[in-house]
């Protein structure tokens, strides 16, 4: 980390400035190399593709040579045409062209398969990586933006791979092939390219450098736009309720304008490349015509030679032209790939330590020892929390909103790690056990109900691998939701669509409770688990809950103090520390206690 200033300045490209807007050459090479890494996984397929590509381009290259021969046979003019040669060459031309077309089709199909495999792998890896990312990543990034990585960015890379890479490879073959053929005809005429070729290369490189940051901006702006759209779509009802549609549309327009402007700016520079390179090609054509005509005049070459040479020079410059066009595409692909890679490089949850233990047969003794935590280092949420819970006890956590109740749950489940202090379960430091086994030791019901697109049955059965129908129905009964489910036309097979309104918040919560009841863990976390359920139903489920809580260590967060009166221990936390602790009765004894005041407030007018 501590590099000397001299070393820093010696490092040519300034690493600090403009890292966001500009991509240094080495960074681009790194992205390309990494992309290449994906391709290289399919070495065999690539070898076949290259072989076919070579053959198909080779056949296509023979065409002009044959045309030239045919024209030479025509050259003598009226009455002297060598029909035999013409016919033979024409037949051969046809043959080679057909062969070339067939090969190029096979090649394209193979290439599509290759690029699809790469895309699939990439999508797979991105998703795989998403599943390992810490909760904090999802708390900090917009859903729409994350989705835009997995759909738009990967899609851009995919298009570029299947179209552009094949173009480039076949271009290279064509260029080399044409070059060889042209040398054969007239090395002298080839000198023309000594002027024009460096021009093309220099120009393309110069432009590419200029355009790259614009493409990065274009991707970034689109990501922002998508993020905003997702956010606003999910809040559509509220926007309607406040009749703010027009304001939101205006704001969307700003993002929209930024996105299309960024697109345009990239295009503005990018679209110069094609015509400019085309110009350089036309320049070579003009020069070749001039010098070719002179050479012909002095009898150095034949007319057929000129025709062939021009065809080859077109073949030669065509791909260069294409490649210039492709640079634009490639750059946007590079920018997209970079964003994908950046996501892949997001630090995952700190992996389980080596030879981490697996928690099994958890008794449920939970201990917090001087735990300190804040989501950002500056703002401490939990100051210094110590807590000792014996197995099978129910701990209620009470406190004013914002006191850090949910944060404790985040720490218990290891969604976040404390900055200092230790949390143990059955004496095992939870940072030293396998995360999965720790989380499997808990059943959790959150205030935030989450259901996925699928049947009610699937949503409940989600809690337990291979749950039987009886188990699911029993859980639904215990959660007092089975009557409702059966009243639906399709019963347990009703499909819950995203954000569907035909099912109320409370019912959603009951479904998640049913799900939790199926999951059979030794510890239980209820974070406002019944906040959307009416209290009659709550009482009914409570019996089932109590059964569930029997003999399990249980952490309950609730605002209805009536639901936590029976807890073995009540923690009143405020400002991240425990300010009061004891049973309901003990806490009610304290004349001036926070708990007592809270409890009485609920009956106050």
């Amino acid at each position: 980390m501590n590099r000397s200033p001299i070393e820093k300045s010696a490092n040519g490209a300034d690493p600090k400035h403009g890292t966001d807007e500009k991509m240094t050459g080495t960074a681009r090479i790194r992205v390309i190399r990494r992309l290449g890494g994906y391709l290289l996984r399919y070495k065999a397929l690539i070898a076949v593709i290259l072989l076919f590509m070579f053959a198909s381009n080779f056949f296509a290259l023979i065409g002009p040579e044959l045309t030239g021969r045919a024209i030479d046979a025509i050259e003598p003019g009226k009455g002297y045409v060598d029909f035999h040669t013409v016919a033979v060459n024409c037949a051969l031309m046809l043959l080679f062209y057909i062969a070339s077309a067939i090969l190029s089709y096979i090649n394209a199909v193979l290439m599509i398969r290759l690029s699809q495999r790469v895309t699939k792998t990439m999508r797979h890896e991105v998703f795989e990586h998403l599943t390992t990312l810490p909760i904090s990543y999802f708390d900090a990034n917009q859903t729409g933006e994350i989705i835009s990585h997995i759909s738009y960015d990967i899609d851009t890379v995919n298009t570029s791979l299947s179209n552009d890479v094949i173009q480039i490879c076949s271009s290279i073959i064509t260029i080399v092939g044409s070059l060889v053929m042209m040398i054969k005809i007239s090395p002298l005429l080839l000198l023309v390219f000594c002027i024009t070729l460096p021009m093309s290369i220099l120009f393309t490189r110069y432009k590419a450098k200029k355009v790259q940051p614009l493409f990065r901006r274009r991707s970034a702006m689109l990501g922002t736009l998508n993020g905003y759209a997702e956010e606003m779509l999910s809040g559509q009802k509220t926007i309607k309720a406040y009749h703010r549609e027009s304001v939101i549309i205006d704001r969307f327009d700003t993002h929209n304008k930024n996105a299309v402007d960024a697109y345009y700016e990239a295009d503005y520079q990018g679209c110069m490349i094609g015509p400019s390179v085309n110009f350089i090609n036309n320049l070579s054509l003009s020069l070749i015509s001039m010098f070719g005509a002179m050479l012909y005049m002095f009898g150095k070459i034949t007319l057929g030679n000129i025709s062939t040479f021009i065809q080859y020079s077109r073949k030669f410059s065509g791909p260069i032209n294409e490649m210039a066009n492709i640079t634009a595409e490639l750059q946007s692909a590079c920018a997209a790939a970079e964003r994908v890679f950046r996501l892949l490089d997001e630090a995952p949850e700190t992996p389980d330590i080596q030879d981490a233990e697996t928690l099994s047969d958890v008794q449920g003794a939970v201990k917090l020892d001087h735990v300190q935590f804040g989501y950002t280092p500056e703002r401490v949420i939990i100051g210094d929390l110590s807590l000792d819970v014996s197995p099978g006890k129910t701990i209620a956590i009470v406190g004013p909103t914002g006191a850090g109740k949910t944060t404790i749950i985040n720490l218990l489940m290891r969604f976040y790690d404390p900055q200092s202090g230790v949390i143990t379960v059955d004496g095992h430091d939870i940072c030293r056990v396998k995360r999965d086994s720790l989380r499997a030791a808990y059943t959790m019901v959150l205030q935030d109900t989450w259901l996925f697109h699928g049947t009610i049955f699937d949503n409940i059965a989600y809690g337990k691998e291979g749950a039987t129908e009886e188990e699911v129905i029993a859980a639904a009964k215990a959660a007092k939701i089975d009557t409702f489910i059966e009243s639906l036309p399709n019963g347990y097979h009703t499909v819950l669509s995203d954000d569907g309104t035909s099912i109320s918040k409370g019912q959603k919560q009951l479904l998640t409770i049913a799900r939790a009841m199926l999951a059979d863990a030794s510890m239980l976390i209820l974070d406002e688990a019944t906040s959307n359920v009416d209290s009659r139903t709550e009482i009914q489920i409570q019996q089932a809950m109590y059964r569930l809580m029997q003999g399990r260590t249980c952490f309950v967060i609730a605002h209805r103090l009536s639901t936590i009166q029976n807890a073995d221990q009540i923690l009143v936390i405020n400002g991240g520390t425990v300010t009061e602790t004891g049973t309901h009765d003990e806490l009610m004894q304290k004349e001036d206690g926070v708990y007592r005041r809270l409890f009485q407030a609920q009956f106050e007018a």
């Binding site: 599509i112 679209c271 001039m290 000129i306």
Partner: protein, 558 residues
Amino acid sequence: MSLGLLIKFIGTIMDLLLPYILAHIIDRIVPTRNLSLIVLWGICMIVCSVICMAGNVIANRMASAVARDASRALRHDLFSRIMYLSCHQVDTFTIPSLESRLTTDTYNIHNMLGRMQRLGVRAPILLIGGIMITAHMEPVLTLIMVAVLPFITLVVFKISQKGVPLYAQMQRAVDNMVCVVRENIQGVRVIKALSKTDYERRRYEKVNEELVQYETKAGVTMAASNPLMNIFLNAGLTAVVFVGAFRVNAGVSEPGKIVAFISYFTLISNAMMSITRMFVMYSKSIASANRIGEILDATEDMEGLPQSDIKAGEPYLVFDNVSFSYNGMRNNISALSFSVPKGGTLGIIGATGSGKTTLLSLLMRFYDVNAGSIRIDGKDIRAMDGGELREKFGTALQNDFIYEDTVAENIRIGRDIPMEELRRAAENAQALAFIDAFDDGFDHMLTTKGTNVSGGQRQRLLIARALAGKPEILVLDDASSALDYKTDANLRRALRENCPETKATILVAQRISAVMHCDEILVLDNGSIIGAGTHEELLDSCDVYREIAQSQLGGVVE
């Protein structure tokens, strides 16, 4: 637009002139052995090239600007339309699908618009111009070449006809994938808690696999167009050489012409190539365009009533025999009637799924009643336009949304409200203390979905949002469930004492204590009213209410 066309036209014509000059040099100038003339014509070619470049660059930029403006307008229209879709329509389209239409599909169109304009002008000009010049040079050979064009057209047409549905399928598969990813992001806590990561991976693998298959299918189909076209074009080329041989032998043509002809042929075949590429693009974007069209064409499904007569002398807010069903099968609200006088407060309590939130959705006209009517100040809400109706309300819904912006903006939500009003609303909502505790107070940035504040803080922000507009009707749907009792009690006192502009307050709650002081309380069950009256009356008359009260208030019931 027409200027752009002209510029592009000139640029492209220059491209066509080059081989013509070439033929001229070989056939006319070379035999004269005049070196300076060759150089002169060569310079002519270079000049043409320069004009060609300049024309194309300018035209491309103009095209790019057109594409920018067009897709900006399209995206604007689409987003506006989506914002004004009825809740029922949003439910049908689903949010992930709307989202991918708004992003991926409009992006496809933007891409297509840019390229189409460039190729779309250039390719036909090259094609037609090429044919015209060759026809002038050698009509017979041109006919041979033109003869292959119908075949190519047929091939391209057939293939793109097959391609469009394939791309539509592919887009649906994209929707599915987005749906799974979205669910995984939103449910990340539950998934991790239940250790369902592997299950989710498999679910994702399935949609990924499906998407890849559709992509491959579409790609393989479209890939056939290029090689097929090449075969036809090159067959034409061969025929030209062959027939050309006869024509030269017969003395009706010259070898130089054939050389130039072949040069044009490459030009023409490149143009054809561009045209097929356009068809591939077209097939892909037509699928996107259809999906966008579906939204833009969605008819207004909430019809306003014509100006209905105003019933005078009615209570402020009236529900008159209202029935409603989400799916048209089971009534979620049936034959509901009640009223709220000016200045009244109404409490609504009832079991989970009894229709509390539905009732509010009808009042706010997120959905239209199936029978009966809802009137405010004697006027049917269907006869008001959306703004007139909704501007009366201040609402805090269950788990309402917080977006990535400052605290102030989240309370203001785009309305024109001065700072002191915001502070006042925050104070009444019991939010001022914690807002002021932020280093940057009202300028504190909230994360998307408000993940950096606690549940209770979130609810108070939402209530502040509802109060900030000084609404006529205040609607709180279980908006204080995450508040501790003390804060909740303070909030209720503030609502009662500090908000004189409110003409009606509707509180939906689970807690008796949140509604017990209302002027009237409705007890809902299964979409109908099973009890109505004040707290005391209901304790007497309604068994369900009494039961709830006892369970919550313990023995303290008086």
